[in-house]
Symmetry: C2
Subunit: 380 residues, 2 copies
Amino acid sequence: MGQANYQQQVLGILGGGQLGRMLIQSAINYNLTVHIMDPDPEAPCKNLCRTFVQGDLKDYDTVYAFGKTCDVISIEIEHVNTAALYQLEQEGKKVFPQPRVIELIQDKRTQKQFYQDQGIPTAPFVLTENKADVARHLDFLPAVHKLGKEGYDGRGVQTIPDAGAIGRAFDAPGLLEKFVDFDKELAVIVARNEHGAVKTFPSVECAFHPVHNLVEFLFSPAEISPETDQKAQALALKVIEKLDMVGLLAVELFVTKSGEILVNEIAPRPHNSGHHTIEANFTSQFEQHLRAVMGMPLGDTGIRSGAAMVNLLGEAGYTGEALVEGLDEAIQEKGVYLHLYGKKLTKPFRKMGHVTVLEADTGRLREKAQRIKELIKIKA
Amino acid sequence: MGQANYQQQVLGILGGGQLGRMLIQSAINYNLTVHIMDPDPEAPCKNLCRTFVQGDLKDYDTVYAFGKTCDVISIEIEHVNTAALYQLEQEGKKVFPQPRVIELIQDKRTQKQFYQDQGIPTAPFVLTENKADVARHLDFLPAVHKLGKEGYDGRGVQTIPDAGAIGRAFDAPGLLEKFVDFDKELAVIVARNEHGAVKTFPSVECAFHPVHNLVEFLFSPAEISPETDQKAQALALKVIEKLDMVGLLAVELFVTKSGEILVNEIAPRPHNSGHHTIEANFTSQFEQHLRAVMGMPLGDTGIRSGAAMVNLLGEAGYTGEALVEGLDEAIQEKGVYLHLYGKKLTKPFRKMGHVTVLEADTGRLREKAQRIKELIKIKA
C-alpha cells in the first residue's frame, strides 16, 4: 500500500453555502486543503477554509483563475461557468463532476432528454419555449411546468393543475411534465470515483412542503419494500453509469401508485436528501463526495440508525437578523442534532439549517420529527 | 421557551491544537463565533475560525487582550496565564473552567493535595522539591515521579522502580507517587454547566504505550462490571462538584487489583480519552464542552456503538513533513474514522491524529483496532 498524498492536493469548491460548509467540516478530518469561491462575501463557508475567494461563479475569467490555483475542482451548486471548467479540464485539472455532466444537468430540458435517450424511466414531458407554448398543451394537464435553467431551492417549478392556472407558467424555455400521481417521493445518493468504484446509499423518503417545493421532512430508511429499495438503488446506479460521472449524485425519484419508479431530477453534488447521513450512516454524503472527487476508496453507506431530517426554513413573516427559538428545549432530547448554516439574515422559507433526529422506532421517529419542527423556529 | 442567543456570544479558546480543531468542527453546527489564540502561527486551528491570534498563552497582556475581545473564555490546554483570566473574570467575562480550577490543576502537587483534602481516593504520595529530595524517599519505591508543572502529552512523568533509577527523577518541584499495581486504567468525562446540570460519560478503558505514557488504544465501553462503571462515574461527579467547576473534566482513574478506584489525574477540557465520542456516543465530548461553557443544556452521553480509538503517533525514526501510509486500505473498512490534526511536521511520538473504530463485538473490536494501528503509519 503506497502513501496517500491527498493532503498535498488543493481541492477547490465552487459555491460556499451550507453544502460547502458541511464539506469543510468533513474535509478537516482528512486535513484536505480546501479553497472556496462564492459571490457572497458573507457566505456560510467564509472563515472556515484556507482560502475564500469572493467571485462570480458564472464568470469565465473568475472561475478559470480560481481553478488554476487548485488541483481538483468540484462544486456545491451547479450554476457555474462550465466553459471555464472545460478549459481547466483540458489543461489537466481534475474537474469532478465533469463539465459535460454539469452542463447537461444545468438545463432541465437536456436532463430530461438524457433520461429519454438512455431508457431511464421518467414522467412524460414536452419542451416549451414560452408561456404561449405552454397554453398549446392543455391536453398535458394536470402538469408541472419547470424552467429549463436557474431553478434552485424550490424556485423555477410551478404546478399547473388546469387551464385556469396557465398564467403561472414561465415565459422562458422550459418543460411541461405530466403530473405524476405518486405514492412516495424517494431519493437515492450514489457516488463514483475515477477508478470506477460505485456505491449507493439506501433509499430515503422525502416529504415536501405543500406550497414551496422544498423538502420539509426526510425519513431514512424509506418505508418501502426491499425490492423497491433495490430497484431505486439500481436506477440511481444506472444514471451515474450512463452519465459516466465522477462525484456524488443525488437522484430524486417518484414511486407511482402502480409501483413504477421514475427519475424526477438529479443533482451532481451533496443534496438536502442526504443531510441525515452525517449522523445516521457509516459514511456521510459529504465525506463520500470528498472521497469520490479525490479518488479515495468509497465509504460504507450502511445505516447506523433510523433517522429523520427536518429543514429549518425561515419562518413566514420574519425578515432580518436570524434568531433561533426553541433551541434549548430541542437539544435536551437524545439524538437531536442541530446544524445551523451560519446565515446572518433570515427571510421566509430560506434554508437556515436542519435538524437530524435519530430514533429506531418508525412511529416515534415521525412524532419526534414533528415535535422538533414545531419547537424550533427561525425568526428575526 | 425563550430565544437562545448563543450565536451572539464570542467564544474565545486559549490553545489552537487538535482539541481546539475538533471544538471548532462541533461549534460550526451551532454557528458559534470562535476566536482562537495559540503561539504557533501554523497551529491546527489556523484557517478554521473567524479570528486566529498568534500569541503567547502564558503572557499576561496577550491573554488579557485576547480575552477582552470575547464574551466566554475557555481553554483547550491548561498551561495558560491564570492571572489574566482572574482579571477577566473580575471584569465580568465568563471564564470556564474558572481560573481557580485551572490554577489548581496546573500544578500536580496542588491537584494531589486537593484529592487528599476532599477525601477523594488517590495513590499515596509525597511532595518532592528536587532530585536529592526524591532520593530521601527510597521507602516509597517503586514509584512514579511527576513534575509539578508543565507536564503534557507524556512529558513530565518518570517511573522509578528502584533506587538505581533515581537518576531519572526531575530536579524540580514534583511529587513521588506510590506505584499502583492496577488492573485497569479508566477515564470518565464529566461536564457541568453554570446552571449546575451535570452529566458523566460511561467509563472507557485506556491502554497506554509502555514507554511513552501516551494513550495507545482506548476502548468504549470499558470491560468492567456495571458496579465499577457506576463507582467510577460517581467519583468523577464528586471531583467536578468538589471543584465547583463549569466545563468539561476528564478524570483518569486506576482500578486496583483489589477493586478500589483511585483518581490518577484530571484535565479540565476535552481529552484524548473522549475522542471516540464523536462517532460512538449520542453527544461528543467537544459538543458537551461547548454546551457546558456556553450555558446550554447538556447532551445525552449514552453509547451509540462500541468503539476503539487508536492514536496516530509520529513513527519513530521519522522527522519532517508528514506522510500518511496505509490510509486507503484502512478507510475501506466499515466504521473506520480518520481524524488528522493538520500538523505539517511529524516527529517521533508526536500526536498526529487518531482513528475511531466502531464495532459492537468486543473481540472483533480489539482485533480491528490492532489491525488499523499496524496499517496506518505517519512517516516523513
